[in-house]
């Protein structure tokens, strides 16, 4: 089975996602506005050029005085038109960006010069991406080397894929078929071969296709890595507790030694694994080695999947975007304290007391450095 993208001459790209119509409508609106100006302004210019061409008797026209009224009119009317474009465009853009709660998560790794996809049950594929129709899908994407970009013209959307952190691209396909997937951020020698296909299938067909795979899920792989790289010696309550406990950590707020704080999301976990010295949780020593270069992007994905699946986690699949902005320091620190209290029931007493104390210390630290607090990375 090797489906091909239909190869036809076209003037207009195929619409195959729920957002495509909205983008096209806006695009057509702007084409109409532009066409209006591209016809009328040159028409006026040509009319003037003919009517007022140089002729005997028309050699020395008089001065013309500026009309302030005209200047205002041709400033304000275009301003109103572009503001319509702005609000309309922003509104559709937020639809393109806001990942639905129930979106099916697929892991994407960009690498010179191929796309690797991994489905929920661990099924992997390269350059081909099978997705169900009529179901929101979110691609959780990271790059192993330089910046890439997933671009699916039929879905009217694209997103850069960064080496430093996760980015997300969602879509809901509206018809089955095969569509282009291009790498749209220049990435070197084989950039133009970093091309894949999106194969949109009926839900039942997709499940059947997925069912062909019986290997390990990302969570299982992650659990093995967690032991293999000895993460468990510091980060599990059965271990030495030299690092923060990870069960249920997704979505909670943590306070750092420098007084700043963040909500734990996938990007924070990723950074903590690869750049372990970037943010040190208050009350802990910066003793964790960096795993940059030791773990592949897929292994990081697996570890994060495992951390999210740890008992006590309430994180869903769509905990994709960090909330915008951080509330004030004291309130957040209090939240963190609550969180710690919640964990108390499941943790051993000594460790929890330790955590609670450090959180209390941080509250005063944070209050002292409110001005220095940073937004969520």
């Amino acid at each position: 089975m090797n489906p091909k993208v239909p190869n036809n001459f076209a003037l207009w790209p195929e619409q195959a996602s729920t957002i495509a119509g909205a983008v096209d409508a806006l695009y057509i609106f702007e084409i109409l506005v532009s066409t209006f100006f591209v016809i009328t302004i040159p028409a006026v210019i040509i009319y003037f050029c003919v009517k007022y061409r140089r002729r005997p008797g028309n050699m020395n026209p008089p001065r013309i005085e500026t009309s302030k009224a005209l200047e205002v009119i041709w400033s304000v009317i275009p301003l109103m038109i572009v503001m319509v474009m702005f609000f309309w465009g922003a509104q559709v853009f937020f639809r393109q960006q806001a990942v639905p709660e129930n979106a099916l998560e697929i892991l994407v790794t960009g690498k010179k010069w191929m796309w690797k996809f991994q489905h929920k049950n661990g099924h992997r594929e390269i350059n081909d991406l099978h997705v169900p129709v009529g179901q929101p899908v979110v691609l959780k994407m990271a790059s192993e080397d330089v910046i890439h970009d997933v671009y699916i013209p039929a879905f009217r959307t694209k997103q850069d894929v960064l080496p430093g952190r996760y980015t997300y691209l969602w879509f809901e396909a509206t018809k089955t078929g095969v569509y282009h997937l291009f790498c749209n951020q220049y990435c070197g020698t084989q950039h133009s071969n970093m091309v894949g296909k999106v194969i949109v299938m009926e839900e039942a067909d997709y499940q059947k296709w997925l069912g062909g795979y019986t290997g390990a899920t990302p969570e299982q792989v992650g659990e093995e890595l967690f032991t293999k790289y000895a993460c468990n010696t510091c980060h599990l309550d059965s271990g030495s507790a030299r690092g923060p406990l990870l069960a249920g950590i997704m979505g909670t707020k943590v306070a750092f030694q420098d007084g700043s704080q963040a909500v734990v999301d996938e990007n924070y976990l990723r950074e903590s694994i690869l750049q372990s010295q970037a943010k040190i949780v208050a009350g802990f020593q910066p003793i964790m080695p960096s795993f940059q270069g030791l773990l592949t992007a897929e292994e990081v994905n697996a570890l994060i999947a495992y951390i999210k699946s740890m008992p006590g986690s309430k994180a869903g699949t769509s905990q994709a975007h960090p909330p915008a902005g951080a509330p004030d320091a004291a309130a957040s620190a209090t939240d963190a304290a609550h969180q710690a209290t919640n964990e108390q029931t499941e943790s051993n007493d000594a460790a929890t007391t330790n955590t609670a104390q450090t959180t209390a210390t941080t509250t005063s630290d944070a209050a002292a450095t409110t001005g220095a607090q940073q937004g969520v990375q």
Partner: protein, 557 residues
Amino acid sequence: MNPSEIPAPYQTQARPIGDVAGLTEPNYLNATHGLKSWLLTKDHKRIAILYIITTTIAFLIGALAAALIRLELITPQGDLLTGDGYNKAFSAHGIVMIFMFLVPVVPAVLGNFLVPIMIGAKDLAFPRINLMSWYLYMIGSAFTMWAVIAGGVDTGWTFYTPYSTTTNTNVVSAAVGVFVIGFSSIFTGFNFIVTVHKMRAPGMTWFRLPLFIWSAYATSLIMILGTPVIGITILMVAVERTLNLGVFNPQFGGDPLLFQHLFWFYSHPAVYIMILPGFGIISEIIPCFSRRNIFGYSFVAMSSLAIAMVGFFVWGHHLFVSGQGNYAGVVFSALSFIIGIPTAIKVFNWTATLYKGSISFETPMLYALGFMGLFLIGGLTGLFLATMAIDKMVHDTYFVVAHFHYVMVGGMLLAYLGGIHFWWPKISGRMYNEFLGKLGALITFIGFNLTFFPQFIVGYLGMPRHYHQYVPEFQVYHVLSTAGASILGVGFLLPIIYLTYSWWYGDIAGSNPYKATGLEWQTSSPPPTENFHELPVVDIGPYEYSEFKEDSLVHPR
């Protein structure tokens, strides 16, 4: 050139009315002789000539790379160039055209020649620094060309990290080149600003300044404020490459998006560095060939300053899909729309200037009219890219390539060609062949549209830029583009040929062949080394065509 080389018929030609000096009389071209007198000159006009030669060579090199790109893209397969070869070709095209041609060309050539004469000064405020700018340009260009020749660079002109900090091509040499050329820009801008402030002739008040000066002034502000940022950013790339310092590469703890922010903080305003002087040229040509004072002088002048200022706050529209926060995107989108307004004001004012004028269609005017049509399309398609939802679709596709070329070639390059034709009689003292001039303008206009209009369509279809090979359904559009590019090539070669010819063999132009009002037309062609035989005194505005008498000069000498 030597006066004795001038063909005999011209030497005996009757001097046109108002001409104070024929070519045999002392002027900046024949004042001194020898290579040394050119390479060590402090005369802003001679430095402008040096720039004409060097930027034209840069243009030809960039055009050669473009030809390779277009030839490769006739077929969907990669058959003419290898993947790396193609990447180096488009990088060479971008780096050479942007940093060695588009950014410097109008300020360095026409700005250098005209800024002092237009304000009635003898030279720029710092003639030696002006010469140093040219040498910096040459040194920087040498580094850049070395990078291109000795193995090439494959980062594109944007040098995006971490690709640029990890590729094994000549990034450091190109980066040093861009860094040094940057200083040439900074010094030129600095020179212009001081000159405009301190060296205006008696009576040349701020609102009597020609609009070309206003736009050169606004451009200079951007050069001074923006160029240091690109300089240090690109140097950081070089440092990261050589010392593995983690600034942009996440492997060493850097942030790749930081580079994009810093890069576009300069490079978006740089787009205005490229186009603002073009606006200035158009604002000179249109009044002259419609015998009309410009409509809304102060609005056109102030819109240049508005563009220069707001231009510093729109860079984030290059990062809508890069992982920049959504709300940051909203702010950048709104500001990007707002910067469209001062641009629209200019177009409307130029159009209104034609109303009830006395319009004639010499070569410069044809370029100016062509500019208005093409720039209109370039500007309007900019609105599509400022619209976040549409940018999500067309970002980094051929839609952007088309938009950019409509602004930079259809806008800026046509304006430059219009300006070169307009002031050529002043620069060389000679007329070019008018028929060939009009033919060249027409060929360029047709070839340009055929090259770049199909790219809007193929861009919305999803053709990504920087693709060496592409899916077969896009081929029709690429064939059209390549056909157009061949025509465009003819349109560009033609002026180079007939202008060069006219330098030695053209008819004597006389001091004011187009009967224009600017101060630069009140002196002989070519002007004497000190620009004016007597210090001019200015008592009216720059575009008083209604008071222009055929046989007399407007400005008292």
